[in-house]
Symmetry: C6
Subunit: 194 residues, 6 copies
């Protein structure tokens, strides 16, 4: 059932770690592209902060398209839809920023996201990764869902002390300060040169 890690690597979908009043959870970020004119659609009962986070992720990708191996005119050729399933559950906050960026780059490059990777971190326009809250709860939930590789903001390293050692030992943590590092860890190699 859902709340579990993906069964295979996926293009255009990445796993984020969420933190709500009732504990940690995992969530999927799905991105679809359709022939279009650059319209961005955001669904899944997202709050304003999460919508702005998605817009920031998209602008990061647009202004860094060339170095990411993406056609610089993609914004004129596709409509982009970002959806976060379980459409009746409200979601908010900036901490899915790097997950959204990863799903976007995956969809636009065709590089699959490794299924065993989960991640959490705010992203800025320049690709900096900012710290988030609830690392302990997020990690426990990711562990329960079968995730074994977790990308976290470098500024959250001190919070790793709060995670029970038995869990921590079963997981691989990647602290990062730039979203380029996230992409290098989470995306499969491209099969062909860009």
């Amino acid at each position: 059932r859902h709340g579990q890690a993906e069964l295979s690597n996926q293009v255009g979908a990445a796993t984020g770690l969420a933190y709500t009043s009732v504990g940690g959870d995992t969530l999927q970020i799905e991105v679809s592209l359709s022939a279009g004119k650059g319209k961005l659609q955001l669904t899944g009962k997202l709050g304003d902060v999460m919508k702005e986070s998605a817009q920031t992720a998209l602008s990061y990708v647009r202004s860094n398209a060339e170095s990411l191996g993406i056609a610089t005119d993609f914004h004129e050729k596709y409509d982009i839809h970002i959806h976060v399933p379980e459409g009746a559950v409200p979601k908010d906050g900036p901490s899915a920023g790097i997950t959204i960026t990863t799903a976007l780059v995956s969809a636009l490059t065709g590089r699959p996201v490794k299924r065993e990777v989960g991640m959490t971190g705010e992203v800025t326009l320049r690709g900096r990764v900012l710290p988030i809250g609830g690392l302990k709860e997020k990690t426990l939930s990711a562990h329960r869902a079968g995730i074994d590789t977790i990308i976290i903001p470098k500024d959250n390293v001190p919070d790793m002390d709060d995670i029970p050692e038995s869990i921590r030992e079963e997981l691989t943590f990647h602290p990062v300060s730039q979203v380029e590092e996230v992409l290098a860890i989470a995306l499969e190699e491209s099969n062909y040169a860009n």
Copy 2:
């Protein structure tokens, strides 16, 4: 009177199962196409979650147009109107996702929806079918309306225990995990090759 199954197979209309505070109900999802420029219109006193569900269904269809046998440029040629009759009754939630997808694909391919089929399930951008609530009440209402084939999310199979055995035996259940399975069950074969 209404609250009854359709009398014949229809193009562009599918039967969903709804669940409200006063019990289960069936609802029709109607789709009409007009020469246009890709405008999506949603009516029938739909809440925000249901509107996002329809947008998600449409994006699934757009980004999978080719494999669904639909012209990939349909979005530039038609305006699409999705209406849920009984316009004064508020409706919400994500559980009509697969019904909306079915009605859309029917309208766009011309393949009729089998009149004896009812369905319930959230759909994601990638076509995954997620579990819903109120399966018992929905099933009882569908049975009363003359539906005899019911498509449900695979993750709702355990909830089938709650349906009285006498009713359950008169119905055929199809548990599914991808919306492609829904379309194979609910739509008539196309009369001509795509």
Copy 3:
């Protein structure tokens, strides 16, 4: 004074039956066309359900233009304004659906609406006519206004028992289940072949 039936057959105007907290009433639906680009304007202090009803009526007409004898590209050539006079009186609900459809088809075909006809019924995207409330009050009000032919949804036939027999005998009722029947009853024959 107003609250009376029209004095002559009109193009682009039809008489609906309304039901408010203070009893039944008749209302005029007016449609005007101007050279334009497909903009739909809705005025007359209409609630959201009534606005959606008008949008549904328009989509029905657009997607059935050919069989209605209307140029299929009308939507690109005209702006359409639907107004319900007595602009300070709030109006809502789906029961003017068939009246709006009739006024639209009249305006687009030039066929006048018979002045002695009043009507009430929700319309769906596929042209089905759904039942409405307040049939008794609506009928009494229409009778007072000089209407003698009333189109009602087939599912409302049982409610005709509630109308005093003395009134009922002075009126002709047309129960219908599809809006095509409404148009056949309410519109004058076209003077020329389509």
Copy 4:
């Protein structure tokens, strides 16, 4: 000071009679045209009903442009601004409908509005003039402002009994049922053939 009749005939401005909780008042409807693309701007702290009334007046003019002696493509060539001065005073209601129509036709034809004329009446899409409230208070206020010719809806004729005879005798009343009659009374003859 304001609250007085205009000193000369004006193009694009007409005098309406208003009725508020503190009594009757006169108001000016001003219309300006600028080279543009059909944008309608409405200012003067107007309520929704009054805005819809202005949209209805404009649609009447657009769909009757030819018979009004107005170029049928004016809507593509001009932006239209309708303003009601004393911008801090809230105004609402449909009773300025015929005044707005008059000011619009004056601006679009160049025919001046006779300065001694005041008017009140709701207008419909088809140009019918519907009755209004507060005739007595409106008339007294118009009289104080120096207006001597008042156009009223035919259905308000019975309300003329409420106006003190001394005032009534100093005024000329024109009861009308169609806005074409309003234009014939309020506008100066065109100086040149259309």
Copy 5:
């Protein structure tokens, strides 16, 4: 510091007199033009009435462009931004109408606004100047800020009695009834023929 008159004549900026619950104040109206397509931007925490006042001022300028010596197609070539500094202070009301008109005409003609002039008055679409409130407080504040020439609506002349004689004697008042008079007083002569 601010709250003082400008040190030199400025193009595209004019000084208005404001009146708030805590007394009179002066405010600058700033106008900037950029190559564009006729977009109007209004900033400075302006209330709806003040925004409508700016739109009315702009329409006055557009429809009188020729007689004001402004290219009649300016609206297609420039985006116009009107800003009222001290962006955190809410501002509202129609009394900056003539100040906005003056700043607009200055920006569009290049004629500087005389730095010693302050002004207050509502403007209508036809350029009439309507009376305002708080003349005494506005005048005292303008005097404190070093303004010595004040343009006021003709209908506010009786309110000049309320201004202490010692102040009144140090100021020059220009009562006006049309905005053309305002422009003649406040703007420097153009250096070149239009």
Copy 6:
């Protein structure tokens, strides 16, 4: 960790000083450009006053593009996104005006912002710098974050008395009255002639 000065000079990012109910803080203003059509996107949970401040900064840059060494048609070629990280923290007020202007000019000219500079000040359409509140708290926070050069509005000079002398001596203050002065202080020299 964040709350610290940048480690290197950056293009398109500048450090502002903020003042909230819980004391002073520093914030980064990030600007990204993408090939586009002049759309302005503002994110970071910004209040209306801060959004208007960004619009004012952009209009200043647009109408002074030539003298700033920026192509005058940049607005037609780029979409501009201004983001203020820590997306969940509400931010408002006009005092980031000069910081936004600096980040914009940096992004559009390619001139890096000196990393040791922090700044605070409202900007007007004409580039005037207006005084702000909370100078003491802002300065203490900037000092803690490693900033050693602070640009302040000239009208805030008297407020420097409130800053403890020990801190004041470690900082260099630049009082300014025009935003051109800000740019001269904060931006590195361009490497090539404009």
